[in-house]
C-alpha cells in the first residue's frame, strides 16, 4: 500500500534552494552541505527562513527553485512518506487517539517492519519512559511528550532527523536538561540531526556546526566557538551573544596585525580575524574579554583610556559594567568575581584593556545594531 521509502544515505546537500510565497522570499538561494552523522543547527530569528528550509528537507514544502540531495539521490520532489527522513515537530504532533506504544510504532508499521515490539521497547528505554507505553499522549507532561516525539522519530533510524524548535514549549530548566540529553542520544544512535532553533544558547550547547540564518540566507556557518570568537558580520556578532563594536580606521600594519585608529587611540587586530574590505572597520570585542583597571594601574595588550563607569550590575558569578568612552559610546564589560579585587563603582574613571587576539574586525559599512534586537521570542524565556 505505502510505496517503499527510498534508502538514500550520506551527506545532505541543499543546492541553490529558494522558496517564495508570492512577493515574499522565505529562503533565498541557499546552498549548504550537512555532513552525515553531524549535529547541525539552523539558528536565526523568527521569519529568517529556517523552518521553511527544514520543511523543504522534510518534503512538507516544495522548493520554488533548487535541489535537495541525500547522498547521491535527488529527493527534491520525493513525497514526505518516501523520504528516509523523520521530524520532531514543534508541538510534538503526537497522535491523540493512539497509545504511546502505537505512536512510536506508527512509522514501523507503515514500513512493514517485523519486530515492532522489540524496537519500540528499545527506544522507550532509551528515552527512559518504558512505563508509559499504554498511556495516551494527553496523559503525559510536556517533557514526556517531547521525548516520545523524539522516540517516534528515531525508532525509524532515519538517514536524517529534523528537529523543529523541539524544546520551545518546555520551561527553562527542563530545556537545559533536554539539551544535554538530546546531544547524548544523538551520539548514542549516530544519526544526522538537523536542529532548527532561535535560541543561540541551545544551538551552541548541542550542535557541532551552526548555520546562522538571516532573511533567507546563511550569514555564517561554523563551529560554535568559531562563530562566537570570529563572527564575520554584525548580525552574527550580535545574535550569538553580545558584542562591543567600535568604529575605527585601519591606519597601518605591524607584521600580522592591523593597527586601528579608534577615535585617536591605537589598538591592534590580527589580519586573519578581520573581515573589513577597506580601511573602514568595526573592531569587535566580546564583553567578557575586557578588563577594567583603575587609572595608573599597569596593563598590557590593547588599551582604551578615558572610560567612565555609568552603571554597575552585580549578578553573582560576574559583574556587568556599562563604561562610557570619551567618544560617547557605552561599552559593555563582564568581569568575573574571582580575583578578589573590589568591584568598581559608578562614576569611577577607568581604562579598558584586552588581549589583541580577542579582537575581530567587521566591515566598516555594516549596521552595528544588526541582530541585536531581532529576537523578541527570547526575551520572555531568558
Amino acid at each position: 500500500m505505502t510505496k517503499e521509502s527510498i534508502s538514500a544515505k550520506g551527506d545532505l546537500r541543499l543546492t541553490r534552494l529558494t522558496k517564495s510565497y508570492g512577493e515574499f522570499t522565505a529562503v533565498d538561494d541557499l546552498s549548504l552541505v550537512i555532513p552525515e552523522g553531524s549535529f547541525f543547527a539552523l539558528l536565526g530569528p523568527s521569519g529568517c527562513g529556517k523552518t521553511t528550509t527544514l520543511r523543504m528537507i522534510a518534503g512538507l514544502e516544495e522548493p520554488t527553485v533548487g535541489s535537495i540531495h541525500l547522498g547521491t539521490t535527488d529527493i527534491t520532489t520525493t513525497k514526505p512518506y518516501q523520504r528516509p527522513i523523520n521530524t520532531v515537530f514543534q508541538n510534538y504532533a503526537l497522535f491523540p487517539h493512539l497509545t504511546i506504544f502505537e505512536n512510536i510504532a506508527f512509522g514501523l508499521r507503515r514500513r512493514g517492519i517485523k519486530d515492532v515490539d522489540a524496537a519500540v521497547s528499545k527506544v522507550l528505554d532509551l528515552v527512559e519512559l518504558p512505563h508509559l507505553a499504554q498511556r495516551k499522549p494527553t496523559q503525559l507532561s510536556g517533557g514526556q511528550q517531547q521525548r516520545i516525539a523524539l522516540a517516534r522519530a528515531i525508532v525509524n533510524r532515519p538517514a536524517l532527523l529534523l528537529l523543529d524548535e523541539p524544546l520551545g514549549a518546555l520551561d527553562l530548566k527542563l530545556r537545559r536538561q533536554m539539551q544535554i540529553e538530546l546531544k547524548w542520544i544523538q551520539k548514542e544512535v549516530g544519526l544526522t540531526f538537523v536542529h532548527v532553533t532561535h535560541d543561540q544558547e541551545e544551538a551552541m550547547t548541542m550542535a557541532d556546526t551552526i548555520a546562522v540564518m538571516n532573511e533567507g540566507q546563511i550569514e555564517q556557518m561554523g563551529s560554535p566557538a568559531d562563530l562566537y570568537d570570529n563572527p564575520k558580520t554584525a548580525f552574527v556578532a550580535n545574535f550569538l551573544g553580545q558584542s562591543n563594536l567600535i568604529k575605527g580606521t585601519i591606519s597601518g600594519n605591524d607584521g600580522d596585525s592591523h593597527i586601528v585608529d579608534v577615535f585617536g587611540q591605537k589598538i591592534s587586530l590580527q589580519k586573519n580575524r578581520s573581515h573589513a574590505v577597506d580601511n573602514s572597520i568595526y573592531a569587535g570585542i566580546r564583553p567578557e574579554k575586557f578588563r577594567i583597571s583603575r587609572l595608573g594601574t599597569p596593563t598590557s595588550g590593547n588599551i582604551l583610556t578615558g572610560g567612565h563607569i555609568e552603571d554597575v550590575s552585580y549578578i553573582g558569578v560576574s559583574t556587568q559594567y556599562q563604561v562610557e568612552m570619551p567618544w560617547g559610546q557605552e561599552l559593555m564589560v563582564f568581569e568575573q568575581n574571582d580575583d578578589g579585587v573590589a568591584p568598581f563603582s559608578k562614576d569611577e574613571e577607568v581604562n579598558i584593556s584586552w588581549e589583541p587576539i580577542f579582537t575581530f574586525g567587521l566591515r566598516g559599512d555594516e549596521d552595528a545594531t544588526a541582530g541585536s534586537e531581532v529576537n523578541p521570542e527570547e526575551l520572555d524565556e531568558e
Binding site: M1, S5, G59, T87, A93, F95, H97, R110, T138
Partner: protein, 282 residues
Amino acid sequence: MRKIRTPYLLLLPGFAFLFTFFILPIMNLAQTSTQTPVGGGDTGEFEQTLRFSNYIDAFVENKEQFGRSFVYATIATLLALAIAYPLAYAIALKGGKLKNFMLILVIAPFFTSFLLRTVAWKQILGEEGFVVPTLRTFGIIGDSTTLTSTSFAVVMGMTYNFLPFMTLPLYASIDRIDPRTLEASGDLYANGFTTFRRVTLPLSMPGVVAGTLLTFIPAAGDYVNAAILGSPNTKMIGNVIESRYLKIVDYPTAAALSFTLMVVILILVTLYIRKAGTEELV
C-alpha cells in the same frame, strides 16, 4: 452554601421545561397505549384496560412500515455521510478565509421552512423539473419512469433535509484535528490514503457518531418526506402514527407505535455507540 446551590438553580428551568413538555406527555402516552375504545362510545373515547397486546397488534399490523423506516433512514444516513464528509473535510482543512462563508451556506437551507424545501424537491423531481428530462436525454431512466412518488424521492428528500445535521458535527470534529498530526503521519511513511484511514478518520469519529445519530434518529421517525415525495407504497412508520392520531383517531395504536419506535431507536443507538466506542476516542 450558595456556591453549592448555584448549579441546581441553573438546572431548574431546563428540568421544569423537560418535565412539563417531555416527561408528562410521555407518561400520558404510556397510559394511552394500553387503552381500548369504550364499548358503544363515540370515536375518540377510550378507557384504561391495560391491554398490553395493543403493542403486539400495532407492531404486527405495521411491521412493513417499521422495516421501511429503518431501511430508508439507514440509506439516507449513509448517503448524507458520503456527501457531508468530503464537504466538511474541505471546509475544515482547505476552507481558509472562506470557512465561515461556506458554513453559512451549509445552514442556509434552515432559513426556509422544512416543508417548503420538501415541496420544492417535488417540483425538482417532477415531470416539469429539469432532473427527469435530463436523465431521460442521457438514457439513464426510461421514458415511462418517474421519480416522484418513489422510494428514491423519499430517501433523497431525507438525505437533503438532514444533510446539515451530518455536516456540522463532522466539520466541528475535523476542524479540531491539528494539521501537524497529518503532516506527522506523512513524515512517518503514511501516504495520503493511509493517513486518512489511520489518523484523520479515527480523529473525526466523534463527528461521525454525532452526525449519523443526528441524521438517523429524526430520519427514522420522519413522515414529511414520505408524505410529500412518496406514495402509499413508501409509507414510513411516522406516516402511520400520523394517520392513526389525526385521521383514524386511534390513539392507543398510535401511542403504542410511538413507544415501540422510541425503544427500537434507543436500542439501536446504544448498540451503535457501544460499537463505535466513543469513549475510546479523544
